[in-house]
């Protein structure tokens, strides 16, 4: 991995994100009420989820309609492992490894079968719906893995909380909040670095023109599979954080979960990383507020936002804001001309 190609802007973005994370960790727990803290933890887990699709779709060019499959798998893998082991540190690793392995199998099937765009979308959507149906039908004592009951549509309400490694003391909500903030930052930085490595650039080349990349000697199928697996691991991590702020239930596999994450990426801007996370926070706060008021069904809001953005703001918020910023930053036409002359 070389950092020589890493742009200055990239480092500044990561530094800014680090400052934001530290500020949140230091300031929020000391004065925010517990309820807010837990909610923000939840939003952060969703932010990690948004990043997983932002990487896969925005940079890998792979539109996965069933990203929620990995999200849910991560959470279930964690809950089942934690109940069976009685310790959560190893279980947390399961939350990342199991979805990644699952994605490796599924992705082999998809990419080496040369299935693309629509078909890929259909199959990934189908996979998450299959899991949704399967998990929903696992009510009763017959369905258990080791000690853990799968619980059908009730999920696993007694999901064990993450503990401080090797001590058995569960994390407090404030510590959980800090962990989520750190994980969100780490994931963001990881994605940011990943896209400027040799691997990341090759992945982007495949997105731009798969045939040209292959003719230049890149193995497009393997690159796609690799980014698919990485993204699934990130989604699994999001599932782990989600499981620790709410609990594990089949709705994690549901169509609305799959739709939400797509909407965040569309609204935030395809091919950006900060945008989807910002959109995720904004839309979750908005839908939560609307749900509390009970005036408008959240589906109406989400649906309208998606249609309006696809039709009128196809680039998403972040590019739109960047364009606005560039427009403001360049004072007048006259000064622009002067700059040109000076050059």
């Amino acid at each position: 991995m070389t950092f020589s190609t890493f742009s200055r802007a990239g480092s500044i973005h990561i530094a800014l994100a680090a400052i934001a994370m530290l500020a949140a960790i230091i300031i929020l727990p000391s004065f925010a009420p517990l309820y807010t803290l837990i909610n923000v933890t939840l939003y952060m887990s969703m932010g990690v989820f948004a990043l997983s699709l932002a990487l896969l779709w925005g940079y890998g060019g792979i539109l996965c309609f069933g990203q929620s499959a990995f999200f849910g798998l991560g959470a279930y893998a964690y809950a089942i492992a934690a109940i069976n082991f009685g310790d959560t540190t190893l279980a947390a690793a399961f939350a990342i490894v199991i979805p990644a392995l699952f994605a490796a199998g599924l992705g082999y099937f998809l990419f080496y079968g040369r299935l693309s765009d629509v078909y890929l979308g259909v199959i990934t959507l189908t996979v998450t719906l299959i899991l949704f149906k399967l998990i929903n039908s696992t009510g009763g004592d017959a369905w258990r893995i080791g000690e853990a009951r799968l619980g059908g549509f009730n999920g696993i309400p007694n999901t064990p909380l993450l503990t401080v490694p090797f001590s058995g003391v569960p994390l407090s909500p404030a510590q959980m909040f800090m962990l989520a903030a750190i994980m969100l930052f780490v994931t963001y930085a990881l994605c940011k670095v990943l896209i400027v490595t040799r691997f990341g650039r090759a992945v982007i080349a495949v997105r731009e023109n798969e045939m040209r990349a292959e003719l230049l000697g890149y193995n497009a199928k393997r690159l796609k599979l690799a980014v698919f697996v990485i993204s699934a691991g990130i989604a699994g991590l999001a599932g782990l954080l989600f499981a620790n702020s709410v609990f594990v239930s089949p709705t994690m596999f549901s169509l609305s979960m799959a739709a939400q994450v797509l909407i965040w990426v569309v609204v935030g801007g395809l091919g950006t990383l900060f945008g989807p996370v910002a959109a995720c926070f904004a839309l979750q706060i908005a839908t939560a507020a609307l749900g509390k008021l009970g005036i408008v069904d959240p589906n109406i809001v989400l649906g309208t936002v998606l249609v309006v953005f696809v039709v009128f703001v196809p680039g998403g918020i972040q590019p739109a804001l960047a364009a606005l910023h560039a427009w403001i930053a360049t004072p007048t036409r006259q000064s622009r001309t002067l700059e040109k002359v000076a050059r």
Binding site: G113, L129, K133, I300, V307
Partner: protein, 288 residues
Amino acid sequence: MDYFLVVLLQIVGAVGNLALISVGLAVIFGMMRVINLAHGEFIMLGGFAAIFSVQAGINIWLAMLVIAPLSIAVLGVVIERLVMRRLYGRMVDTMLASWGLSLLLIGLATTFFGNRVVGIAAPVGSFRIGDYSLGAYDFVLAGIVLVVFAGGYAVLRFTRAGLIARATMQNREMASSLGIEPSRVYAITFAIGSALSGLAGGLLAPISGVLPTMGVAYIAKAFITVITGGASVITGTALSSTLLGSINTVSTFVTTPVLGDVALLLAATIFLRLLPTGITGRIFKGAP
């Protein structure tokens, strides 16, 4: 003996059901290469249209066969005008926009009709084979589906409108340079596809009841049936619903309804690995 006959008849019912919920999506996808993810909600609204008409005292057949398709066709025209028209040629964007529409329609239906199941009684009763009792309505439904498919095939194969439709489907630029206006063909296609979804909703209302979120249950099945069928609208959908419907029914009999659905989806996934362009992408190429 009776048992096998019953299983066979169940398969016929399941195939008809699958073909019915897929045909609206197939028409729009086959003609326009647009995946309409709001298809399930068109079915749902068709169901509501039929039920409200029956509650208003209209004859049930009229409500299911005329009012449901017509009202959804009107909705389809409006949506095509307002949203879809702006996005032709951008396949992924049409998919996303129609998903947005799907959420929007679910939200609106929940707000105005309430989040509960409403139903109407089936207009025909049941009959017996040996010790088994079967609903006659399933077969009425299969019959209607047969008529729709035969009619669709005949229209596409033998009429001038069908010729224009197939021409646009095969080569849009060539058709348009021969004086056919693609945007008009697309508008009509979207209306017909929507009408078929509405018809499906109307006909399914007595069986399953109608609920604002019911579309979700249909969209995956319809989607996978259409993709498995491949490029040919009528032949492809008929073949794939026969195949998948049989698999679904047999595995439901052997195991449980949930695992039956899982088997259907798994079979379709494996099928797409073997024939990535669907059944009619390889076999029966060029059939309407």
